[in-house]
Structure formats: C-alpha cells, structure tokens
C-alpha cells in the first residue's frame, strides 16, 4: 500500500472521529437532558420550559436539531448564543485567534526546547544534567497544570518576587501580542507542562539511536561527536518522538482551558468555562468541536509525518 492510500485512510478515520465526537457532544448536551430545563432550573413551570424550548428551537425532533447544528457548523454558522442571541462566532471572535496564538507560541518554545533537553540528556546519560532533568521532569509531569501555574504565580507574580503580572490584559480588538509581559506566565506554565513529557521520550529514543550500529560507524570514521549527535542521530531519534509531540500540541489545545482561566487570558478556554456555567450550549458545542478538530488534525499530521521520516515504515504500510 502506498503512502497516498495511507493518508487517505487516515483522513477518513479523522472524519469518522469528528463525526462520532459531534454525535457525542450533541447527545451529552442536547439529548440526555433538556437545555431549557437546565437554564431555567428545577423549579421552572412546565409552561415556561415549553416556551423556552420553542424559543431555542429545542421542541423539534432530535435528528432535525442535530442536522441543523452540524450543517450550520460545516457552513461556518455555529448558531447563536443562548444567553444573548449573539452569533457564536461573534461571541468568540478574537478569542479564537488569541487561543491559537497562545498555543502556537507555547508549542514553538516548548517543542525545540524538549528536543534539545532530551538530546543533551541522552548524550550525557547518567551525568549531572541528565539526572537533574529526569528528576525535575518526573515531578513536573505529575503535577496538575493549575497547581504548577499557581505555584509560578506565587513565586513570580504575587508573594515571593513580584516581577511579572499575574493576569494577561488584552483589550478587545487588540492583537494577543499587545501584552507581552502578561504572556510570559501562561506560556511558561504550558512550556513546563509539555517539556517533561516530550524530553523524556526524546531522551529514550535518542539513547536507543546512540547505541545503534550506524552511530558507532559515524564515530569510528572520525566524525566529531557534535556532528554525530545533531546530524546523524537526531533525525532518526525524532521519528518515534513525533507522536508524543503531536499528543502534546493537541494537549495544549485542551490545556489552555485551565491556563486561560488562571491568567484571565481572553481565549476560548475562558469562554468555554463561562459558557458551561451559563449553560450556553451552542458556545460549548462549538468550542468542543474546535478543540477536537485541532486534536484530530495534529494527530493526523503526526501519523503521516512519522511514516515520512521513518523509511522502513513506508514499506510496511498495511
């Protein structure tokens, strides 16, 4: 089977995944329980519930509701907010870009950093750098994001040193890079969440490569160790790490929910949290589909990327 066929199959699986996710999101928010009831509370009169259902279009058959929602989503019209009747796209507006910006910056810093840390730790295996980073990353990796973020706030913004702002201030209409100081802590937190995972896998993969015959060959023919490490070993060690990198970029898409709330960053995470409290179903549905969309795309790219950088996999495709 060729690479094209593999990509097509992987693409179809991505579409299937998003379809199943959309059904699950719909069932959880609109079918298992009644949003109108949830908005009005348990003591609401049946008449007012009925009125609310008619107002929000929830009195129609579930299949019609699903079809309307999904076709709207695909044509770029994810409906209107339950709380104020404003189109969902206007509610989220710049927040989508702000979140994408936060994710991109965090990924752009943490991925190269993890590769460097992992490679260096593998090259100096069992020396000081390696044992320090492996101990630190074990602790960091087990700590919840919000605990880590709050510890950084205590350390750098409020109690110990007051060198950074504890919240991000981006006014509506301004680009996300308008408050660079405020961006430091959110990005630092997300970086500290991602680096331990990726660098650990990178280290393991690198150690395996460094023990291989072709690396020994490169050393024996007299190449400087630096060239062996970065030119010969690194490209081969990245292959197995790609999946984990993808997983972590996708994780950033979900991880921003907590971090945005923590730093008051105006992104989709904060919007999602508010929409959950307000039972604003259309906003919740859209953000959920947006985040899983990123998740599916990134994983797809990683799968294809892994095959491309690992020649021996290309012949084994089944």
């Amino acid at each position: 089977m060729g690479i094209v066929k593999f990509v097509v199959r992987r693409l179809l699986f991505g579409v299937l995944t998003l379809f199943v996710v959309s059904v699950a999101v719909f069932v959880l928010t609109q079918a298992l329980s009644d949003p109108a009831q949830a908005i009005l509370g348990r003591e609401a009169q049946p008449a007012s519930i009925l009125a609310k259902q008619q107002e929000l279009g929830l009195d129609r058959p579930l299949l019609t509701q699903y079809w309307e929602w999904i076709s709207g989503l695909l044509t770029g019209d994810p409906g209107v907010s339950f709380t104020n009747g404003v189109p969902v796209m206007d509610v989220l507006g710049d927040r989508l870009w702000n979140s994408l910006f936060l994710m991109t910056v965090s990924a752009a810093i943490s991925i190269p950093l993890s590769i460097a840390v992992g490679t260096y730790a593998a090259a100096r295996r069992d020396h000081t750098f390696d044992s320090t980073t492996s101990g630190t990353s074990l602790v960091l990796a087990s700590m919840p994001d919000f605990v880590l973020g709050l510890l950084l706030v205590v350390l750098l913004a409020t109690n110990v040193w007051r060198v950074l702002p504890a919240v991000t201030r981006i006014r509506p209409g301004e680009p996300p890079w308008s408050d660079l100081d405020g961006l430091v802590l959110p990005v630092l937190t997300l970086t500290l969440v991602v680096v331990p995972y990726v660098s650990r896998v990178m280290r393991a993969s690198m150690i395996e490569v460094l023990e291989s015959d072709y690396v020994e060959m490169a050393r024996l023919k007299g190449l400087p160790e630096r060239a062996v490490l970065w030119r010969h070993a690194l490209p081969n060690a990245i292959g197995p790490t790609l999946q984990v990198i993808a997983f972590n970029i996708a994780y950033l898409a979900g991880g921003v929910i907590l971090i945005e709330y923590l730093f008051n960053y105006p992104g989709i995470g904060g919007a999602l949290r508010d929409a959950v409290t307000d039972r604003n179903v259309p906003v919740v549905q859209f953000v959920a589909m947006f985040i899983s969309g990123i998740w599916v795309v990134v994983n797809l790219l990683a799968d294809v990327g892994t095959v491309l950088v690992t020649p021996r996999l290309r012949t084994q495709l089944t």
């Binding site: 199943v20 298992l32 919840p144 919000f146 605990v147 709050l150 898409a253 959950v276 039972r279 985040i291």
Partner: protein
C-alpha cells in the same frame, strides 16, 4: 511499544529459590519497586496526604464553615493559617477538604480500571474483528480531551457526583484497555495458555487466573498514572469553580475561592495546592518506581 511490555512470569526465575513461596510472579516486581527510593518517597508522601484527608476532619479545631474572624486575615489569634474570604478558618477547612477529591478520584479510577481491564483482556485474547472494533473505538475516545468531555457533559447534565465519577472513569478506560491488551498479546501466545485451553478451562478462568496475573505489572503502573490523571481532572473542575459545589470544604474548590486574595492571604490557596500537588507527585513517583521495576525484570530476561 506497549506490546513489548514485560511478561511477568519471568519474575519466577529470580524468586524461585525462595522457600515456601506462596504468591506467584507478582511479588518480584513489587519488591524490586520497593527497593527504589522514589517508590518509598512516593509511598510516604501519599500516606501523609491521604492521612490528612482521612483523619483531618476529626482533628480540625473548627468546623469547615465556622466563622472565626475577619475575612482574608493572615494572623488570627488561635487560628493557625488565618481566615479565608468569608472569615472561615483556613486550616480547619483544609483538614476537612481532602475527602471529596480523594474518594471521587479513587472510585472513578477503580471503575475505569476494571472496565478497561475486561475490554483489554477480551480484545487481546480474541483478537480478530472484535479486537479491531474495540481498539478503533478507543482511538476515537482518545481523540477527545478528558477535561473537555467533563465540561461538555456537565453543561446540561449538571454537576452530580455520579456524572463526574462515570465520566472520569470513561477517560480511564481507553488507556488501561490499551495497556492490558498490549501486555496480554504477549501472554496469550505462550504455552501455558495453550495448556489451559487444552485442559478445557473456561474462557473467564483463563483470562482471570492465567492472563491477568501475568499482565499485573504494566497494569499497576498504568493504574497509578490514571489515578494521577483522575485527581487532576476532578481537581481541575473544582479549580474552575465547576466542582460539586457542595456547601462544604473541598481542596480544589478552596483554590477557586481563595486565589484572588493570593497576595493578602496566600494560605487558603497554598495549603490545598500543596496537598493536591504532593498527592499527584507521590502517586507519580510510585508509578515511576513500579515502571522501572517492571522494565528491569524485563531487561533481566533479555540478558
């Protein structure tokens, strides 16, 4: 990688000389894990935090909702860590607040673990179509971040403790099933399974008493990792102010209530985040120790 996870029957080789050995293989890697400092430190940390959560309510000087002084004050006579935003005793609320998160996380992990193990064993033993379908379903569940699933579900279902427990359990299942299946694939090929089949043992018996003990190592590692994640998820809900919202103290909810007053009165935030952080780090250390022990046994075989 998962398929190469160790098969623990090999632990017998090491322990075989011990006289009067009752429990089979499993002993080997647990003993090896306990020899590692990280496992011991992890166990001590977990014991301390769980101890606080369990004994706390009995030794707390005040009730969780008693008012003891002016709100957000760091120094109050007779109160160790001052008062929170409502004037309640931070130390007493801390001592009362550990049970909810702990119980919910453990129950959710156990439900997810049992379900995941059953799915993984069935998939690994039967292989073929059923296995394919189950593993694809798991890929799809994994495409949905756990926290997002929880948030979507509680939007209209409400924040009921069973809803939360079952959803967290749902996030535990896929990875446990995958690890179990991966480890089981290596076991079902072995002769003693064939022997058990030839003896006419029932499928449940083969899975339960022949395959399961031999995948215990990787499974235990995964169980600890899943527990860390469950604590994280339930803590995250409380942190977002979307926890059970009961009128009582809860570590994660305390963070949500007190973090805005961080610079005036840090204890209301610090105590619970220390507890949650230490708990997950402790469980993580245990997982790492077990993982090393299991991998070490495997390496021993390769030599």
């Amino acid at each position: 990688m998962t398929t190469e996870l160790p098969v623990l029957a090999t632990a017998d080789v090491e322990v075989l000389e011990l006289p009067a050995r009752k429990a089979p293989a499993r002993r080997g890697f647990i003993r090896a894990a306990l020899a590692l400092w990280r496992t011991r430190i992890g166990l001590v940390i977990v014991a301390v935090v769980v101890g606080i959560a369990v004994i706390g309510p009995w030794v707390a000087p005040n009730g969780p909702t008693d008012f003891v002084g002016t709100p957000n004050t760091r120094v109050v006579d007779g109160v160790w860590f001052g008062t929170d935003a409502l004037g309640q005793d931070v130390w007493s609320r801390f001592l009362h607040g550990g049970r909810t998160i702990l119980v919910l996380a453990v129950v959710a992990t156990l439900i997810g673990l049992v379900t995941g193990v059953v799915i993984g064993l069935v998939a690994g033993y039967n292989r073929g179509r059923l296995d394919n379908v189950l593993m694809r379903a798991i890929d799809i569940i994994l495409a949905f971040p756990g926290l997002l699933l929880l948030l979507v579900a509680i939007t209209t279902l409400g924040r009921n403790s069973w809803v939360i427990v079952l959803l967290v359990a749902l996030t535990v299942i896929p990875r446990v099933a995958r690890v179990t299946r991966g480890a089981a694939l290596g076991v079902v090929e072995r002769d003693f399974i064939g022997a058990a089949e030839a003896l006419g043992e029932s499928r449940t018996r083969i899975l339960g008493s022949e395959v399961l003990p031999n995948v215990a190592g990787p499974l235990l590692v995964e169980a600890n990792l899943r527990l860390t994640y469950s604590i994280f998820l339930i803590g995250a809900l409380g942190f977002l102010g979307l926890g059970l919202g009961l009128n009582k103290a809860d570590w994660a909810q305390m963070v949500n209530e007190n973090r805005l007053a961080l610079s005036q009165q840090p204890w209301g935030t610090l105590l619970p985040i220390f507890a949650i952080g230490l708990l997950t780090v402790g469980v993580g250390l245990i997982a790492d120790g077990l993982g090393r022990a299991v991998a070490g046994i495997d390496r021993g075989r390769a030599d």
